[in-house]
Symmetry: C2
Subunit: 460 residues, 2 copies
Amino acid sequence: MKLILLSGGSGKRLWPLSNDSRSKQFLKMLTRSEDELESMVQRIWGQLDLNQLLDCTYISTSKTQTDIIQSQLGDQVPLIIEPQRRDTFPAIALAAAYLDSVIGVNRNEVIIVMPVDPFVENQFFNKVKELEDVIQQSGMDIALIGVTPTYASEKYGYIIPKIKNENPQKVQGYIEVAGFKEKPTGDQAEKLIAQQALWNCGVFAFRLGYMIDQLELRGLPTQYDKVLEHYERLPKISFDYEIVEKAERIVVVPYNGYWKDLGTWNTLTEEMQTNILGRGSISDDCSNTHLINELDIPVVVLATSNIVVATSPDGILVSEKSASHHVKEIVKDIEQRPMFEERRWGWYRVLDYKKATEGMDVLTKRLFLFAGHNLSYQYHHHRSEVWVVVAGEGEFVLDDQLSYVKKGDVLTIPLGAKHGIKASSDLEIIEVQTGSKLEEEDIVRLFMSWEEMKKSLESK
Amino acid sequence: MKLILLSGGSGKRLWPLSNDSRSKQFLKMLTRSEDELESMVQRIWGQLDLNQLLDCTYISTSKTQTDIIQSQLGDQVPLIIEPQRRDTFPAIALAAAYLDSVIGVNRNEVIIVMPVDPFVENQFFNKVKELEDVIQQSGMDIALIGVTPTYASEKYGYIIPKIKNENPQKVQGYIEVAGFKEKPTGDQAEKLIAQQALWNCGVFAFRLGYMIDQLELRGLPTQYDKVLEHYERLPKISFDYEIVEKAERIVVVPYNGYWKDLGTWNTLTEEMQTNILGRGSISDDCSNTHLINELDIPVVVLATSNIVVATSPDGILVSEKSASHHVKEIVKDIEQRPMFEERRWGWYRVLDYKKATEGMDVLTKRLFLFAGHNLSYQYHHHRSEVWVVVAGEGEFVLDDQLSYVKKGDVLTIPLGAKHGIKASSDLEIIEVQTGSKLEEEDIVRLFMSWEEMKKSLESK
């Protein structure tokens, strides 16, 4: 059995904390221990470990998330990287091709795909493991996990069981599926629940060969290299629509434990073990109010109940909780570069960004490099930089000249000059970029590896 | 007649916009014209101008406010500057001594003292002018303006009139005063209003000689230089308590027009002509909600009515409006250096402040110098600075060496080095301070005037 975790979604529903580079699954807002927070990804990774599932797990993700995944889970996580973000059908196609043609997994082996961020109890993973047997014993094409609904939600998809003699056809812990219903009205949801329908939580199991056959049926490539090469031509559609809803031989395994999609501020704050994260206070006469403050300045919340206040370098949200899902629609039009990003080497935060005064933009950042990590040897077409080292020390290279720098040093990097830095201890830098175009993409990387760069300098 | 405007109060009731250096009267939140905002100080200055009162007006203030007053009202405003902030009795004593011994005002001339920030109609100033005649004709010691109450407020002070034949003794537009009641309960306020009591709006008129006599009676100095010298020994008490409530011959002139103390977010937002100042949005289902955003990032307010959201580099407030006056008590314990200050030469904003990493603090600022203005020639005991010029150009002097600098230049100022800069055009600088103690007070000023500094360099 192989497990594929899908890590997708730019997720503006948790704006301003989530942005294009920091999806909701990476926000550290869940309590791991008394003084430690973890993200949804870190939480599920710990649960997979507890359930001895890590060895067979791969994460399917896009290029933009690889830095943050490695920063949160370590460098050794097996990743299957989409060249661009499309939808779940192409992502699962790529993963299947990878397992088939790169790893050489047997086509009879069961593949289980699930989202990277469900908030569940440990027993959920027993159901995940059961899916392997269910596929093998039932001979069915697809097996799902269906969550027993706790209320008539209009937000979820429902799995409708086949009914015989007024009872779902339950054989050895699984039930045949009659059909699906996405986001019903409240009335429809009530009826579905009366028919013993279950919530679709996005967990799919199938034999690897089944998925490969499906690709072939559609005239799509099945070799990993080919899938990668033609990725932009794969249909931008979900696995649910393209495969599951068209399949006929489907079963579902019911799960009646705790399951939650922490996709909105409303649902996420219900799982927080404290009302305040970050600097600030909430007055005693507030009830059911949460504050998540990622800025360095204090937030004071007075006499307002049932709201969430969330701040980050990207923006500030003040919302009545049950209305918080609307934030996605409102912020979709806000054009703003990311103001905070976690990277493989550490993180940066934009302190100040000022567009074109006299044709020259100015961007001021604080960079934090973890000890032992480096910025790749690089140059920029459109900007010069000034670095003020404000903590730590490290190796600095400017136009092939290596030097040792430490706190207090001022490094001036002219436009076009090759430069890189490696932190000997945790290193903090205030960076002032000035130029005609200040974009993260304006980087020409010469060497990612510090050692290779140094070898090349020595050979000159 | 001379008019003294008292500009005092650190005013944390409008936190986070007001702070120790930016009192509420300097916040630009009132509409002057369609696309221009003005502060309370600027509004009243305009009203005094309309009423031909500017020529006889002085502003009594403390050292910390002189920069912002000059920045908002111009360099030519006549100021009487307290060496330290005490209370209104010492401030008025200093002003009286200044008019008497520096300006040489006749002791029979009437002095009118009023706050710098009442929100009133123009006709209020007719009453202010009337006070001069009232003092001269009544022969009384003190004349006040009393505002006709519009509700039984528990926040204000009440002026109780003398009653004869069930009517206040009203002679030629003024009434004798029987006594005062500060902040009554609701019930008491109702009774006071039934007795035709009036709100005390802090406007006092008296002959200059009366105040000088009061100082002599208390064994206090009356010469300006002496008052200044012994200022810290003057009792820290309000003029109301020390003079008005002890006086016996007091009259009040009723005013039944519009008057408001914009001292809380609740009262201030009532006078704002727009619900949003700054970047952000308020959803349509909010009513009576105001957003004042001084940060560069967007604020989204969703489905919350009757609240005020105010942000500045100092912090963020989210408050139900009627509870907003409590902010003062909550933020009194927040220890934070000012993050934004308006100065004579322009303004600065703190972008980032990080305490002691390896015994060295780091403070990053954006400075804006108005064309033609300069930072005094100065040095610091505890910090070095790096300046990146990001817009404009100017003259720069470092350890007596003059040079011309422009956008893109990087200026390194070692600890102890003398330096100064004068903006030829509007000049913007990103400044990174590093040192063991980063306080605004760590400045040794050698020359305030750029021309004097240059002359001294030439003579070397």
